[in-house]
């Protein structure tokens, strides 16, 4: 088992060097056990995100209020599976709020109120019979600042599996998650050390390993690299590229170059919680339809 994984890992190492566009043989050899029926049969990769995948998240007329303040204004968007979708926009434009709607983390904020429809795999996530705790087991999240628990590296990765009571082959799955997060090589000999002894970039990759250990369908990332240095950032970006082969990634970022580098589709939010434009990343950056989007992307404001 361990030997096989090492080979898989070596293969991934070399694959990371290549760009995804020039890699037609890429057929995800390390497919995880799928718990999500919506992802079956979406193994092959295609750089042109033009309807080759299914829609996994859909919002229709989504409004969010914090008390009297409107944070999201009538947002309608479809997020395709196995793609990286980036949310960009100036501070306070509601892109993080939208992200937190998807796994109902806004529920933890007392004054937050959500109206409109948000569908995950066709199910309204705000329906009465949806338990936010169960939802979050399918929609993982990585936060802006690395926030590992003050436990061992092993216990951090195993956390999600343990809280779900799913502890078959724990060692193997912890190893697999660490390999997928490109961290195994660095920590394999010190799994019992405190996670807080890792560097910032390693901690963030650990948080990603923690999120993918439970094999979610979607991974939400809230500015995952904004607290890291350029080298750590580029490692995280490579990793996101990798993850999109098996997961749907929704990433909020302040950094437009980052969005252009790693995402397949981009959604631009502007002040007032308005989703102004969404489309393939290349179109958004090269030829946006809205003048306001062009102004924002070329740095005239924001």
């Amino acid at each position: 088992m361990a030997k096989e994984n090492t080979e898989v890992d070596a293969e991934r190492e070399t694959r990371t060097e290549r760009t995804r566009a020039g890699d037609p043989t890429d057929t995800a050899p390390d497919q995880l056990i799928s718990t999500d029926p919506g992802r079956e049969g979406v193994a092959e990769q295609d750089d042109e995100p033009s309807g080759a995948t299914e829609t996994v998240i859909e919002a229709h007329g989504l409004d969010v209020y914090y008390g009297e303040t409107r944070a999201l204004d009538d947002v309608t968007i479809e997020i395709p599976s196995n793609r990286v979708t980036a949310m960009i926009g100036p501070s306070g434009c509601g892109k993080s709020t939208f992200l937190r709607c998807i796994n109902r983390m806004n529920d933890l904020i007392d004054v937050a109120r959500v109206e409109g429809d948000l569908l995950f795999d066709g199910v309204d996530v705000y329906a009465d019979d949806v338990d936010p705790v169960a939802l979050r087991r399918h929609v993982g999240m990585v936060f802006q600042h690395p926030n590992p628990f003050p436990k061992s590296i092993y216990d951090n990765v195993a956390y999600g599996l343990r809280v779900q009571g799913d502890t078959d082959d724990l060692d193997g799955r912890v190893e697999q998650a660490l390999r997928r997060a490109a961290l195994w090589e660095e920590v394999s000999d010190r799994l019992d050390d405190s996670a807080l002894d890792l560097s910032g970039g390693q901690q963030q990759r650990l948080c990603i390993a923690r999120a993918i250990a439970v094999d979610p369908a979607v991974i939400l990332m809230d500015e995952p690299a904004s607290a890291l240095d350029p080298i750590a950032t580029s490692k995280i970006e490579d990793l996101i590229d990798e993850l999109a082969e098996s997961y749907t990634v929704v990433i909020v970022t302040h950094n437009m170059q980052q969005a252009a580098r790693i995402s397949d589709r981009t959604a631009v939010f502007l002040t007032g919680g308005e989703l102004v434009e969404v489309g393939p990343t290349r179109e958004i950056f090269e030829d946006p339809e809205e003048d306001r989007v062009e102004d924002y992307i070329t740095g005239k404001f924001g």
Binding site: D110, L135, P150, G160, G165, T167
Partner: protein, 545 residues
């Protein structure tokens, strides 16, 4: 002023008049006023302590020659160490660690003897050990070794609920075992051996210390072989010896060994080492040299004799100490569960909006108010509600424990709330984001992270409870009692209450000597509890815990 600057520094060609000195007169005055204020506070406390210790240790009967030796051998090295510790933070830390371990170990040993041997008795202890404590620890260890076992939490919970029931049924049916093995043997197996195994594990984990099995073996051998030494000392039974090996020898040995293994920490051992060696040399030479030392009131006889109202030379605090330890152990159990429970609810469960939020706000404000209610009022409450209405009895152990628990509960809740609120929200978000329920988040993230803070606050609050006198007066704790309490519903003496009684005694030897020795006993307990609390806090701030 600007001209001043100009003449002083010729090299400066042109100084802008706006860059001269700004008046700091009021700031300087304020600074010195605050300095004097803190000096007065510290100095008055120091005078009080010196006065009490002087009387308790009977220092005026010593000869000048003894003082010369005392200063040369004990005070001078100690002051030198304190001066050195000012520049060497590690040294001070090691000294604190040693002090907290030694003092905590001795007092923990006392508490253990009182709780297990005097109050509970070996048969009761063995019953609960076999049915509750042993199985719970075994399940916990199994869970630690087998990471995949997810049932261990429930297993421990079940043991905690069912074990006491089974244990109560078992009492009286294991007399054969008790008389066969004997009390010291049972303590050796149930207390000394687990402590030795625990130290062995710690030694194994520490890379500098080598094989833990030797540490376990050494401690176990000390427990067995030391019995011979214990037989020679009056007042120390074989059972007492076993309990002290577990509570004093095991942690002290580990701490000393760990500090010895790390060369950077050696400087910290110098102070305590010099103190011990100096005192030892002084004890050895004062007889042959004909130096008359002090004749302390505060000595072994004082700690192990029952109190007296007529004969100062045989008066002691044994029964009141047993009473105080019994009460404070119960207070610790009550307040830890109630206090942490209330704090967790207020911080983690009660929302901030709506009806529940309003109720929670009201509770929070009132808890803060309750922390300021005079202790005598709590005494009145204890008398009316516990002693009379519920009928736990006037001046009984249970009444005292419940009353003191109410007294410190607000302090425990407030400090526990602060510790819980100090857990970063990012940790909670990480846990919820992984699909953890609120209980799982509290159990796995919030509680482990806030436990050191909760412990620190609780220990400081217990330190306050152990010295409280006014509530004890109100609930009718007897002024004088020679027998130690044997159960929850027996009337009990208590250390502060006994001190208060002696203060009224017309005999000056009671008023100065015995009273001071009683106060010193209280102070030593308090200082130890506070130093343990500081130790936990320091380690927590460094992230060791």
């Amino acid at each position: 002023m600007t001209t001043d600057t100009n003449t002083d520094t010729d090299t400066v060609e042109s100084v802008d008049p706006g860059l001269g000195r700004v008046s700091r007169l009021r700031g300087a005055v304020f600074r010195y006023v605050t300095f004097v204020a803190s000096l007065v506070g510290v100095a008055s406390l120091g005078v009080l302590l010196a006065y009490v210790f002087w009387d308790a240790l009977g220092m005026d009967s010593a000869q000048p020659g003894w003082y010369a030796g005392f200063f040369l051998l004990v005070v001078a090295p100690f002051v030198g160490f304190v001066l050195r510790a000012r520049t060497d933070a590690v040294a001070g830390e090691v000294a604190l660690e040693l002090f907290a371990t030694v003092a905590g170990g001795i007092q923990g040993g006392f508490a253990l003897v009182v709780v297990l041997d005097v109050i509970a008795g070996v048969d009761v202890w063995l019953s609960y050990f076999l049915t509750t404590i042993g199985p719970a620890v075994a399940v916990y260890l199994y869970g630690r070794l087998n990471r995949a076992a997810s049932w261990t939490g429930l297993g421990i919970l079940a043991t905690g609920l069912l074990g006491p029931v089974a244990g109560t049924l078992l009492i009286g049916r294991i007399d054969v075992v008790v008389s066969g093995v004997g009390a010291p043997g049972i303590y050796l197996l149930t207390v000394t051996l687990p402590a030795a195994l625990g130290v062995g594990l710690l030694v194994d984990r520490n890379e500098d210390l080598g094989d833990g099995r030797w540490a376990t073996l050494a401690l176990f051998a000390l427990g067995v072989a030391g019995v011979l030494a214990a037989d020679a000392v009056p007042g120390v039974s074989r059972s007492v010896w076993q309990l002290f090996v577990a509570s004093f020898a095991a942690p002290t040995g580990y701490v000393v060994a760990r500090n010895l293994a790390d060369q950077e920490r050696w400087s910290g051992l110098a102070g305590p080492g010099a103190l011990v060696v100096g005192a030892g040399v002084l004890l050895l030479v004062d007889g042959p040299l004909g130096l008359v030392g002090p004749s302390p009131w505060f000595d072994w006889q004082f700690l192990t004799s029952p109190p007296s109202l007529t004969d100062p030379s045989t008066a002691g605090v044994y029964a009141p100490i047993v009473g105080s330890v019994f009460v404070i152990v119960l207070v610790a159990v009550f307040t830890l569960f109630l206090g942490v429970g209330a704090a967790l609810y207020l911080e983690e469960y009660a929302g901030s909006s709506g009806l529940r939020g309003a109720v929670a706000r009201l509770v929070r404000i009132n808890i803060s108010n309750l922390a300021g209610v005079p202790s005598v009022v709590y005494g009145l409450l204890g008398l009316a509600v516990f002693a009379r209405l519920i009928g736990t009895g006037i001046g009984t152990v249970l009444t005292a424990a419940l009353t003191l628990s109410l007294l410190i509960l607000p302090i425990v809740i407030i400090s526990a709330r602060e510790a819980i609120a100090a857990v970063p929200d990012s940790q909670r978000r990480a846990s919820y984001g992984m699909g953890a329920t609120r209980w799982q988040t509290v159990r796995n993230v919030v509680l482990p992270r806030s436990l050191p803070g909760i412990m620190t606050g609780t220990i400081l609050a217990l330190g306050r409870a152990i010295g409280e006198t006014a509530p004890l007066l109100m609930i009718g704790v007897p002024a004088f009692r020679r027998d130690e309490p044997t159960g929850l519903f027996t009337r009990t003496g208590a250390l502060p209450r006994q001190v208060f009684t002696w203060a009224d005694n017309p005999n000056p030897e009671f008023q100065y000597g015995v009273l001071a020795a009683g106060v010193v006993t209280l102070l030593v307990v308090l200082l130890t509890m506070n130093s343990i609390a500081i130790l936990i806090r320091n380690k927590y701030e460094r992230g060791d815990v």
